[in-house]
């Protein structure tokens, strides 16, 4: 294959290599996924973006339920007292939250509305930034004896953290997430749960979102405030930066102690529970964009695509239009009967007005895995014209790589085709991920040089260290910060250390990933 093929006219204005941040924004708008709402820090998630989230949500929810965890729902509003309790025992307590102070609007006498001074709340309520404390309260009520354990709850909800600088899907004041909260009799059981959730995230991200991740433990400075251990799944974006795609915390007994989650053990003694919490959010959708998007827009892995195959009838306002539509409807029906990757094939016959070519490019930008075009001639020949989103261009002529296939053959191959696209997207991301982790740097200045000279998208570095703590760790974190770097995690499946710590020169105890991050 030559790099000197004919020039391709890509569907986006901005290329990834020219301005990744701007490209990201263009994908979101060109794929019609989301837009600014006019409400500070909040976005509107449009049908295509929300449809992808719904797919992610359903697949993860299936995994959560398969693990025997129940969903429940807790109040949006949390009393101030819960945060006072938390502020008490948590140092890194974040205070940027939306506070409800009134329960009524009243006319201001000038045609406007104001909060009614008569309807001021005695105690302000906070819009949940997480449900840790209110679920803790419930657990304290629900757990009495060892027979009530383990208690394993998940919630799908919106949460709010007031953000000054927002970025769609990656950091918004309101976002959607799931938060798992569990209570156990022993440390061992709680740790097992922490790892079960971590592994569920790894599997969901890799198998459903086709996004390779590294599962590992966060160093002390990156722990969830109050947690004993924080584990994460980290994904590499196409610009080489890391995205934390999910976290799983072992909270020890500190949250149980603050919320009063006790149980009577089989000998009649009162014990504190060991708790965990774990979460993922709409942030993952940002990860899908930055993992699979290309210069023509988004590419959605088939397992999370709201529509996996889109059929575009080529209509010309002529009498044969009806026949073409009938032919398309037959194809749709035969595809919708098939199963791929354990689910019914999701197929859309797009009958909206507009030219088929314009609509084709809309679906290319949205990243539908397979696009089918059907005109009168295709119908006569019993064929369909097929475009595979992950193999969009014919490098020889710089044109879309359309292939013409007998209708029956296409229907028969569709399930395997979708599976193949899912795999191809994963393999591509996996190859990029693996190729961009640099190992073997043995001195801090090598790391500095690597990132200073490493070009635009240098990727991650894995180094050996002695896991310093406290003051010593704080100094190291400052060193990293000076280079805009962060620790990501200590890979769960990483190799053992065999060298010296690049920060302290002491014998290394483990290997840790360093990267720029979202």
């Amino acid at each position: 294959m030559s790099n000197k093929g004919p020039a391709i006219r890509h569907a986006l204005n901005v290329k990834r290599e020219d301005d990744f941040a701007k490209w990201y924004q263009e994908v979101i708008s060109a794929a019609d996924m989301a837009e600014e709402s006019g409400v500070r820090g909040c976005m509107v998630i449009k049908p295509w973006g929300y449809g992808i989230w719904e797919r992610v949500q359903r697949l993860m929810d299936d995994r959560i339920k398969a693990d025997g965890i129940d969903n429940a729902y807790f109040p949006l509003f949390i009393p101030l007292a819960n945060f006072e309790r938390e502020a008490d025992h948590v140092d890194g307590f974040a205070k940027e939250m939306a506070v409800v102070t009134h329960h009524r609007l009243i006319g201001d006498g000038k045609g406007g509305l104001i909060p009614d001074p008569e309807a001021k709340l005695e105690e302000p309520l906070v819009v949940r930034p997480t449900s840790e404390t209110i679920i803790g309260d419930a657990m304290a009520r629900w757990v009495q004896s060892w027979r009530d354990l383990p208690l394993r709850i998940n919630q799908w909800a919106n949460v709010v953290r007031w953000e000054m600088r927002t970025r769609m899907f990656l950091r918004t004041s309101e976002f959607l997430w799931q938060e798992g909260h569990t209570a156990h009799a022993t440390r061992e059981e709680a740790l097992e749960e922490t790892h079960r959730a971590l592994e569920m995230y790894r599997a969901c991200l890799e198998e459903d979102l086709a996004m390779p991740v590294v599962a590992g433990e966060k160093p002390e400075n990156e722990r969830f405030p109050g947690a004993d251990e924080t584990w994460s799944v980290e994904a590499m974006m196409q610009d080489g930066k890391a995205l934390q795609a999910g976290t799983s915390h072992y909270l020890g007994t500190s949250f149980a102690s603050a919320a009063g989650i006790h149980y009577q053990d089989s000998e009649g003694t009162q014990q504190l529970c060991h708790t965990t919490s774990w979460g993922t959010s709409t942030r993952m959708i940002g990860g899908v964009i930055m993992t699979h998007g290309d210069d023509d827009g988004l590419r959605v892995p088939p397992r999370i695509a709201p529509h996996q195959i889109v059929i575009l009838p080529m209509l010309r306002d002529k009498p044969e239009d009806d026949d073409v539509l009938t032919y398309c409807e037959e194809i749709r029906a035969s595809l919708a009967e098939q199963w791929s990757m354990g689910e019914r094939v999701r197929v859309l016959l797009d009958k909206t007005p507009g030219k088929a070519t314009a609509k084709r490019w809309d679906w290319v930008r949205k990243g539908a895995p397979v696009i089918i075009e059907v005109g009168p001639r295709d119908m006569e020949n019993g064929k369909v014209a097929m475009l595979r989103r992950d193999q969009l261009w014919n490098a020889d002529n710089g044109k879309p790589a359309m292939s013409f296939i007998a209708r029956e053959d296409f229907a028969a191959q569709a399930p395997a085709l979708l599976e193949d696209i899912q795999k191809a997207l994963y393999d591509e991301a996996r190859a990029r991920h693996d190729a961009n982790i640099t190992r073997g740097l043995t001195h801090w200045h090598d790391v500095v040089n690597f990132y200073r000279k490493g070009g635009k998208y240098p990727g991650w570095v894995e180094v050996q260290w002695a896991k310093p703590t406290g003051e010593e760790l704080a100094k190291v974190v400052e060193q990293l910060k000076g280079e805009k770097l962060t620790f990501r995690n200590v890979p769960r499946d990483g190799e053992a250390a065999d060298g010296t710590c690049i920060f302290t020169g002491a014998p290394a105890t483990e290997r840790i990933l360093i990267a720029r991050a979202y």
Copy 2:
């Protein structure tokens, strides 16, 4: 059948006929569906209650998607200006809302937290009581030409309306719902959509929730503020009161006008859209309780039961326990492979600690459609002991109507059994519904007497009227109010009028339902 059978010891303390409101609360607590959260007006929806909501949500969402409507997500917070605009054009504008005025907490110097005075919002934000206006804003951006129409969006979300007197599931400050919002080129299309949504609700409530409803139009005084037409589905609770289980509004062009939703028609002229909105909420769960609950707790229709069949192994801390568990697991697996009513059978093997009898009554109170008990002797005989929740008692001996069935026979019959229970619950509710609508009262004083002497649970009355409007209607509504009565709706499928208006004596134009209501 004799009414003088042996006394039955029911599983609840309060009977429906003794105190319906107290019975309702007891079901919620005995079935472990929800509880007070400690946050004013907000409840915790516990796993069994939330599981039922998830089932309702999925079945309705399938119907919404099958109708070609897309889900999307809009901000939780709505700027004050949107409500000023609405207050302007809507008379019945409700002002009890949660108002966010600050975006940070800060220490008060005394160990407590207060809203940071430095972080006061320039314009307060309102926690959405409905998304009408913010979705209207989006529609105004998204609709340009007739090609963009119809625009059909649904949202699943939490909403907040500050309530002084709350009642779990029926009226809480925060609740969960879906709200559909559509924009159309013509009145006809918008009306068609209004009726499509209404019919979807009727089908979902009757087929999935096994809850008979009357679909019909609300009279003028019960219309959604600003709507041209409001349609509802009304269900009869066991105490004879009506529960409005869903509404569908044709909004004319008034909301489009307020939000600026215009389109250019095919001749290039700017036109206002015709919009609709329609919603159902967690209130439906309250309806399920009051429709299907009995003196032993809840009875969940199989289509919305999180677990349709619960298997209880009878364990005795003896070596044969393992064999019993293995036998149960085989039964579970063979059931889980089956399909009933278009979905996989949902079966739970309940291995939690506790005596099988105590667990049986827990599941009776929760209303699992079928409970299976398996002890060592059942295993030896290749049988299961089966309890059907809707036929719980043996009237001859006053004991649970347990039947013993060969394991293979049970597995083979399970899908049909579930379908039969679904139908039985519907038929029972339908018979009660039909038997408790009184027709043929021709004078207002007959209606008054009917309700005054009608005993505890008199049901509904259908009367003929001349559809007065304005002042005349207001007088009629006052008359009703004096008897604690309300208009429900004019049944869509009702008979034509052939008499005189019971309020005015004028020739009647339609028949309308009167009831006490939740």
